[in-house]
Amino acid sequence: MLFNASRLAIAAAILCTSTLAASAQNYSPENPECIAPANPGGGWDFTCRQVGKSLQDQGLLDSTMQVVNLAGGGGGVAFAEVVNKRGDDNDLIVAASSATATRLAQGAYPGNTMDQVRWLASIGADYGVIAVAADSEIADLPQLLEIIKTDPTAISLAGGSGVGGWDHLKVLIAAREFGVQDVRTVKYIAFDGGGEAVTQLLAGSVQAFTGDLSEARGFVESGDIRVIAVLAPERLGGEFAEMPTAREQGIDAIGANWRGFYAPGGMSDAAYDAWVAKIADLYASDAWKEVMEANGLAPLDLQGAAFEEFVSSSVNQIQQISREIGIIK
């Protein structure tokens, strides 16, 4: 669903960037700054720091990108700060992900909408997985969902985001596709981060895990857990090729936790184009491919208008599901 649109978008993006690249090199940020809307250590912090480091290594930025951690409100504090106080800052970019889109869709940033900022580009995506312990009797995704369908109390699903967060929504998308009538009965247990959720799966407290591939991969390699479905449009490459997709098991559910950036709404076109071009150049580099591989990021190559379009469509989709499960009215 999400990716039917994005395939087109990727094609559009390639067209866009090739025309952009020529005009954009005039602007160069003097004091590049990246706001990570969370405390050090999380995904947003990683996005800022890794991209800042890589941009400098590649010579795309002359000076070091300063990373500012502005935690609070699940990114809402940073969003409000950018909208209200830094609206025309040309040197500023802000890390974002599916979580940002989810919260915007659910109105969890009071008074803020996605139109108030300019969406720059994505730097990759982390596909959702549903996993069980290695010795679990559950063999595949339809079997898991069948148990949930007949007796929702029998399966506890653990995930790293709060109720209504992306880890929760992903599994609900799958359950809805399978034909679970009232997805609200699916028992989801929220933990503080995917690592803790996987640990509880190993400890046997819960029966299944929903999260991102990067959170699960260490445990997959060690043979502790078994991925029963990747929520990707087709099988992933390399070491992940053995994991079955949900789609090939007859459940058309796709969930990608994308990572990317937005910029202040009042950023000048020249600066916007320059940032988009810089991130596009970075994305195209071999060094970035290595970073993506090391961190379990799958390709998601969207820049400028195409990215804006993509975020907008995912906000709409999330709004629709959230309404169905009663998180928003």
């Binding site: 912090d45 409100g73 700060e81 991969r217």
Partner: protein, 512 residues
């Protein structure tokens, strides 16, 4: 043994001039950051990440720099606890309880060097624990489901009674207040904001760093302002610094304490989500239960300084176990270190020890080096630190206020947090007037969320069945310890308390 061969390889990697210099730099910066109220280990490490990247350091040197900062901050936190009664970071909170009274008695130098040694002992044993037990310890972490975590947190609160006040009711009130404050923010189990009044800054709840700096540092400043007309300087000027080294007899009495609390703190650190604060807290309250026959804890007992310091430094080492072996950060700081590892293309997890032995053993060797360096650095620096006490309050207090404001603003970059901090400062001032202890409030805010979430997780997993809380031998064991810890003092407490009151009258000493 293979382990020793690995360790020798680790030292071979770590022992270069560049790495030693980095360790020295990291230790120094860490100590300073730990000592400044507000700046704790996690911010300290986060601030230095760009430095590691800009210097273009490889994996092992970066880790050496950052873990030195981590250990350094755990050492440094105690300094302001002892000298100013203001914890430098949250695990150092418990050190205030006996450290500050010791300083008031003119034993600041002894308290500082004793706590330095205790920190060393805790960190030293924790590092050995990390070497030999990491793979096995992971199994302990896996024994803890939501029900067991809830029992563990309940144990922390049930042994709270005697910690910092002779009045149990006031302790209970303070803990309840802290638990109440912890409910502010978006509830992760339902996604509903609670007590946020539509204010987006409150969605993530109250930051306990803000609470600590407000409650301890700012209220200290307010009390100073209030007493300025009287002669508060007179009280301070009586302070003598006393000898700077720890007498051997004191070390001797504290050795069993340090050993016990090292083990306890290490175990608390191994559990993801419990971390160093719980380590130092449980170490202190258990030690008090165990050896405090005369009720001297809280009035400047050296064992009361050694216990939390050994405990929190051991927990700092313990927290590295789940980070390395599971990829699950056990504390805020290990979350930052985890991010660094990831950005260095190293994936922590069950296979780290097999896939990247050079990194793991280099890191472990770095921990030993940092620890030794910190001990060597901290003992001679005691005389420098104690000079802080000679600064008259009228100069010191404005500096404390300034550091508090700059520190909190520097971390969060939000003026809203400054207002919250001032709110906590006023609250701390009122509560001190009422002789309500402040430590349980912080514990409540710190642990309240985790405790509530785990209770609700446990109940949801078992479809509303409350008996799930006592469904495993481990949970039952924890509850038994908790109940014994709660009930015993009620029976034997009267005698002890009578003794305590007597002493308090004699010395009219301070509760924090």
């Amino acid at each position: 043994m293979e382990t020793f061969a690995n360790l020798a390889d680790g030292f071979a990697i770590a022992l270069t001039w560049q790495n030693l210099l980095l360790a020295l730099l990291g230790c120094f910066l860490g100590t300073v950051m730990g000592a400044l109220p507000g700046l704790g280990p996690s911010n300290g490490v986060a601030i230095l990440i760009p430095l590691a990247f800009t210097l273009g350091l490889g994996a092992t040197p970066s880790l050496i720099l950052l873990t030195s900062v981590y250990y350094g901050a755990m050492y440094g936190g105690r300094i302001s606890s002892i000298l100013l009664n203001i914890p430098g970071d949250e695990p150092a909170m418990m050190t205030c309880l006996d450290g500050y009274p010791m300083a008031q008695k003119g034993m600041a130098g002894q308290a500082l060097s004793l706590s330095g040694i205790a920190s060393f002992v805790g960190a030293f044993f924790a590092t050995w624990g990390l070497i030999f037990l990491a793979p096995q310890l992971v199994k302990i972490a896996l024994l803890f489901g939501p029900a067991e975590y809830f029992a563990l947190f309940a144990l922390a609160f049930m042994t709270l009674g005697g910690v910092s006040s002779t009045n149990q009711a006031k302790s209970a009130f303070a803990a309840a207040l802290g638990l109440g404050l912890a409910t502010v923010g978006v509830d992760t189990q339902t996604g509903v904001p609670r007590f946020t009044f539509g204010e987006v800054h409150l969605y993530d709840g109250l930051d306990f760093l803000v609470a600590i700096v407000g409650l301890f540092a700012l209220s200290e400043v307010f009390i100073f302002l209030e007493n300025r007309h009287g002669n508060s300087d007179a009280k301070k000027s009586k302070l003598v610094i006393g000898r700077l080294t720890t007498p051997l007899s004191m070390l001797k009495t504290c050795t069993p304490t340090m050993l016990r609390t090292s083990v306890l703190g290490f175990l608390a650190g191994v559990l993801p989500g419990a971390g160093a604060s719980l380590g130092s807290f449980i170490s202190y309250s258990m030690e008090k239960r165990l050896v405090d026959k005369e009720g001297t804890f809280g009035t400047g007992d050296p064992r009361g300084v050694a216990a939390p310091e050994a405990g929190n430094n051991a927990a700092a080492g313990g927290a590295l176990v789940p980070m390395l072996a599971l990829g699950v950060p056990g504390s805020g700081t290990t979350a930052v270190l985890l991010a660094v590892l990831l950005s260095l293309n190293i994936t922590p997890g069950p296979l780290l020890f097999a896939n990247n032995p050079d990194v793991v053993w280099g890191l472990i060797a770095a921990l030993f080096i940092a620890n030794l360096m910190l001990l060597a650095m901290n003992i001679p620096m005691v005389s420098l630190f104690t000079r802080l006490l000679l600064i008259p309050p009228r100069i010191l207090m404005p500096i404390v206020a300034m550091v508090s404001f700059v520190g909190i603003y520097g971390i969060s970059g939000s003026s809203f947090d400054l207002l919250v901090m001032i709110g906590f400062g006023v609250m701390g001032w009122v509560l001190r007037k009422l002789d309500v202890p402040l430590v349980p409030i912080i514990l409540g805010t710190l642990l309240g969320n985790a405790m509530e979430n785990n209770l609700r997780r446990a109940i949801t997993i078992d479809n509303g069945n409350w008996f799930t809380l006592i469904d495993s031998p481990l949970a039952i064991g924890l509850w038994v310890v908790a109940i014994i810890g709660f009930v015993l003092p009620l029976i034997f407490g009267r005698k002890v308390r009578a003794g305590m009151h007597q002493r308090r009258d004699e010395e009219s000493s301070i509760t924090d």
